[in-house]
């Protein structure tokens, strides 16, 4: 027996109402995507640099609960780690956050994050051949490359077609910017520099007489053919309590969790997302409830005919799901366009990953089903006795 698609027909019969409903839901979808998008972007931006680490494990000082905390460990531990079985390489990464100030002529000195490593063993994923192609220039003394996504306040011209070198001062000493690379900024860091570890040693005298002996992070690459869990256990045994070992993914999670806990970002954007959700529920409820109110006589007739409440529950939920689907598609499309626009405008990584899309889709379905359930009360109240 074929079924009359009453839910679909009732929904699509009045096109004007359908358009209103779909735009309303699409609007809610865009709101949710934007809020979630910014929330993710802010968290993503803080770990963007970690995502670029070319490694499986990261070694760091046990009390370095956040990347921005500047507690360091002894370089000798790097060598201990490197001698363990299954380890391909362990490379030191030097980072300065607080003590680095970059200044261009006639501009204010501004804090900048400086990253340094052995140029022959680059620790960052060289996605755009930025390190290998500029290695030669970076070997010269007093040189660095600058993140093209750094804020324009620094006064350097970093866009396409800019001419290099551009001269400036880092902590009062001359520095030539010889090129650019791409990383991204976050709340704490408005710009990035990369230089050789030899140059780094020269700029940061406060690190002691042998500045390269204190390492910020150790990036560990392992043999992909071997069991990572076992390698990790061996490393732990060898290094003891002097250094923490985290997989790159664990470090990303830890970092995001920290920002989530210690800042109101999570709360603000969750409230924003909820607002979108509530707006969606209200719009969707309005549409479903009017659709029911306009056809109350017909529904009462169905009741008189012997259609059960369960049928009406199914009918309404079916309609809710159709509405969710119809509203989600344009909403997600528009959001994608807005993400591209936002990303280029704010230099924040606006990413639309599958799991994030699924979360919003689920929220949309939940939103429509919830309003459907609210509207159902109207349907249950339909009194067939009033028909005679």
């Amino acid at each position: 027996m074929t079924q009359i698609p009453l839910a679909w027909n009732n929904l699509t019969y009045d096109l004007r109402r359908l358009v209103v409903a779909v735009s309303g839901i699409a609007f809610a979808v865009v709101l949710m995507f934007q809020q979630r998008g910014f929330q993710h972007a802010l968290f993503d931006s803080t770990v963007e640099i970690v995502r670029q680490f070319d490694c499986d494990f990261v070694l760091l000082h046990p009390s370095r609960f956040a990347l921005s905390v500047e507690t360091r460990f002894d370089r000798s531990l790097i060598d201990v780690a490197a001698s363990q079985p299954g380890i391909v390489s362990v490379s030191p990464l030097y980072v300065e956050n607080l003590a680095a100030r970059l200044q261009r002529e006639n501009q204010k000195a501004r804090p900048i994050r400086v990253l340094a490593f052995d140029l022959d063993r680059p620790v960052l994923l060289d996605r755009a051949q930025e390190f290998s192609s500029q290695r030669g220039a970076l070997r010269a003394p007093a040189t660095a490359i600058m993140d093209r996504l750094s804020r324009s306040d620094y006064g350097f011209e970093l866009g396409a077609g800019s001419k290099f070198p551009q001269a400036g001062e880092l902590n009062g000493h001359t520095l030539q910017i010889v090129g650019t690379f791409t990383s991204g900024r976050d709340f704490a860091h408005t710009g990035n520099l990369i230089m050789s570890q030899e140059n780094f040693a020269g700029y940061f005298a406060h690190r002691g007489s042998r500045p390269l002996e204190q390492v910020d992070l150790g990036l560990v690459k392992t043999d992909p053919k071997l069991d990572r869990a076992k390698i990790e256990a061996d490393l732990r045994r060898a290094l003891g309590n002097e250094v923490s070992i985290l997989t790159r993914e664990a470090l990303i999670e830890r970092e995001i969790a920290l920002w989530d806990r210690s800042t109101p970002i999570g709360v603000i954007f969750t409230v924003g997302t909820l607002m979108g959700f509530v707006v969606g529920v209200i719009i969707c409820y309005q549409v479903l409830a009017t659709a029911i109110a306009d056809h109350i006589g017909e529904f009462a007739t169905l009741k008189a005919m012997g259609y059960s409440n369960l049928y009406f529950v199914r009918l309404t939920i079916e309609q809710s799901i159709y509405l969710a689907g119809l509203g989600f598609i344009p909403g997600a499309g528009l959001s994608w366009v807005l993400f591209q626009f936002n990303a280029s405008f704010t230099a924040l990584p606006m990413l639309m990953t599958i799991d994030r899309v699924l979360v919003v889709l689920l929220a949309t379905v939940a939103m429509c089903v919830l309003s459907g359930i609210l509207a159902l009360r109207k349907l249950f109240a339909a009194d067939p006795a009033s028909l005679f």
Binding site: N9, H295, M305, P384
Partner: protein
């Protein structure tokens, strides 16, 4: 009314009295109903008694506010029974569970005055909502829906949406939806009000067919006197009370039967239909005693079918057949029965009780005269 009553009509007449093995479609027993609570509580139905057999067409009339709609919603399970007993299609409605209500509703067809068709569905699909609920397979339901809509004059517009249909056409679709699944009971509210003479007639013809062939009981609330002729029973209500509950069709047939008897021919139509309403039917097996000599006489008998023999003191004095009457002597003279009457074959008798019989005698001197003449002739 003077036309001869055919055998078929006589059978129909005899069948209009309920026998024990026929369960009633509607059996309302002392139903009271109230609206409001506390001080606002107002009684709208008073002691309603209504018994309707399967296949009867009942027309309910009465001014608005007379309670007929309330009674109809009670019968249709759309309102809860508060007091009394109401059985519909064998199911007691007093204290019925919601699940049983939903199940029972599937066996009732509703035709509302407002057509209440889904604008988003075609005429065909709207009717399909009724067959789909009952799980009637496509190959059975679809041709039937088409044929019914065709018959109701929607031929070319079967697959049109209500927007493209006239008021009368929408009403006919609603009618089709109410009866397509051949429910045991159809409740219709002014089903012909929006229809022209021809399609109104078609609707009631379909009602009659369902009533006769499928023993479907049909209750119609209407003011449309064009369709009064299809009624087996007319129930009229005033102020929450059933004031008339007469079996039109039975009375008509019985009057027709009675006019074939010399005795009743002297009565005018009104008087005849009045006593027709008072007759009961009683059946006797072959050989059984109908009245006994010496017993107290309480009833007057007219033989509807079969043969009886009259015995006085154990001696057969006469036999009587269809159209004859007996039992009048004891009633007129207030004496014990002067003879025994025994059935020679299965016998059906129309029976009038003493009071009613005496009322007829008193009301019409010519009837009394005719009765004496008949008694005299018998001697």
């Amino acid at each position: 009314m003077n036309t001869e009553l055919s055998d078929q009509q006589l059978d129909e007449l005899l069948a209009t009295w309920p026998t024990d093995n026929v369960s009633l479609s509607i059996d309302a027993d002392h139903v009271n109903h109230f609206y409001g609570t506390g001080e606002m509580r107002k009684q709208v139905l008073f002691d309603n008694v209504l018994k309707v057999r399967p296949g009867e067409i009942v027309i309910m009339t009465g001014p608005s506010g007379s309670g007929k709609t309330t009674l109809l919603t009670l019968i249709g399970t759309l309102r809860s029974v508060q007091e009394g007993s109401l059985k519909v299609l064998g199911q007691e409605l007093l204290g019925i569970t919601p699940t049983a209500t939903t199940e029972l509703r599937k066996r009732i067809g509703f035709i509302f005055q407002a057509h209440n068709l889904f604008e988003s569905l075609t005429a065909f699909q709207n009717v399909r909502m009724a067959t789909e609920l009952l799980g009637i397979p496509d190959e059975v339901a679809n041709p039937k829906i088409e044929a019914t809509l065709q018959r109701l004059g929607l031929g070319a517009r079967i697959h049109y949406r209500p927007k493209a249909l006239s008021g009368g056409q929408k009403q006919r679709v609603a009618v089709a939806r109410g009866l397509i699944h051949e429910p045991g009971l159809i409740l219709a509210d002014e089903p012909t009000a929006a229809l022209d003479e021809k399609s109104g007639r078609e609707v009631v013809t379909i009602f009659q067919e369902l009533a006769q062939q499928k023993k479907c009981t049909i209750v119609i609330v209407t003011h449309d006197n064009r369709i009064l002729d299809v009624a087996d029973r007319i129930v009229s209500m005033v102020d929450g009370r059933i004031v008339t509950n007469s079996l039109i069709r039975r009375n008509e047939l019985l009057s027709q039967f009675l006019t074939q008897i010399e005795l009743f021919r002297v009565l005018n139509t009104t008087a005849l239909s009045k006593i027709a309403d008072r007759f009961d039917l009683r059946k006797f097996e072959s050989g059984s005693e109908i009245i006994r000599q010496g017993s107290v006489g309480r009833e007057f008998y007219v033989i509807g079918a079969g043969q009886v023999v009259i015995e006085i003191d154990g001696r057969q004095v006469n036999t009587l057949a269809q159209g004859s009457f007996f039992g009048e002597m004891a009633l007129i003279h207030d004496q014990p029965r002067n003879a025994t009457v025994r059935a020679l074959s299965p016998v059906s008798c129309f029976v009038l009780d003493k009071d009613d019989f005496q009322k007829v005698v008193q009301s019409s001197s010519s009837f009394e005269e005719e009765l004496r003449r008949a008694i005299f002739a018998r001697l």
